[in-house]
Symmetry: C2
Subunit: 137 residues, 2 copies
Amino acid sequence: MPHPAKDCRRSDCPVSFTLDLLGDKWTLLVVRDILFKDKKFYGDFLSSEEGIATNILADRLEKLDQTGILTWEKDPNHGSKYIYHLTEKGLDLLPMLLEMILWGAKHDPQTAAPRKFIQAVKKNREGVIREIREKLR
Amino acid sequence: MPHPAKDCRRSDCPVSFTLDLLGDKWTLLVVRDILFKDKKFYGDFLSSEEGIATNILADRLEKLDQTGILTWEKDPNHGSKYIYHLTEKGLDLLPMLLEMILWGAKHDPQTAAPRKFIQAVKKNREGVIREIREKLR
DNA sequence: CTGTATCCTTAGGGATACTG
DNA sequence: CAGTATCCCTAAGGATACAG
């Protein structure tokens, strides 16, 4: 059952549903790290510049797993314990994240979003989506 | 300065920026109500099925105003005190909200999203965006 | 190092009372 | 009715210690 139980969903509205799963300040940063920064290890996420706390990170990884957005597997090289990656459901978040990036880049005067990437998304949204999905598959 | 002060932004990443402003379980529900449900009065928002508390609503309206996403004006008919509406910056959230709807509708088995609307968005995203923007202007 | 668990403070937010 | 303010509790989450 990769979705909230009856008593933790506030309504059947899709916006509300999405917010029930992802509506906080940290969860989507983990998704962002995987989608756009090729991160896959626990320490990768920990070292992101926003400075997520280790308990928060562990909690979010577990919740993302429970909701079927992310999974992990043992690291064969054993440099790390696990390799985290998105499921199809998680990869489906890419368009939403891209819109968040466009909105943030447009309205944040001190954004650090790379101009080239923003232009690429504006010019060829579907292409960028396909490319990133391919890379992560 | 319609954006977070230096000490409340976690990084210059556009995703992080967007989450700093909108990353909680309630704020985007108000935006949704305006964009898709033609709500404009305090009581409209209060009566949404998710059941936002009055103090939370007041707080979010104020924050959305501080960040330049929403404004209000006196209601000339005085049925209500104020009429709330989105700024251009707020209307710019529409594409992101649409992606949230698509994702929620796809992955929530008990979604209440109208099939026709979902199809319309998939088929003619830009058209839907233009139409809704026009209506709210 | 990777990941887990504990402690403890603050902030989010529900219930409800209050004002115009 | 529209909107504000208070009370109070729970949960989010920062710091940090601990285990493999």
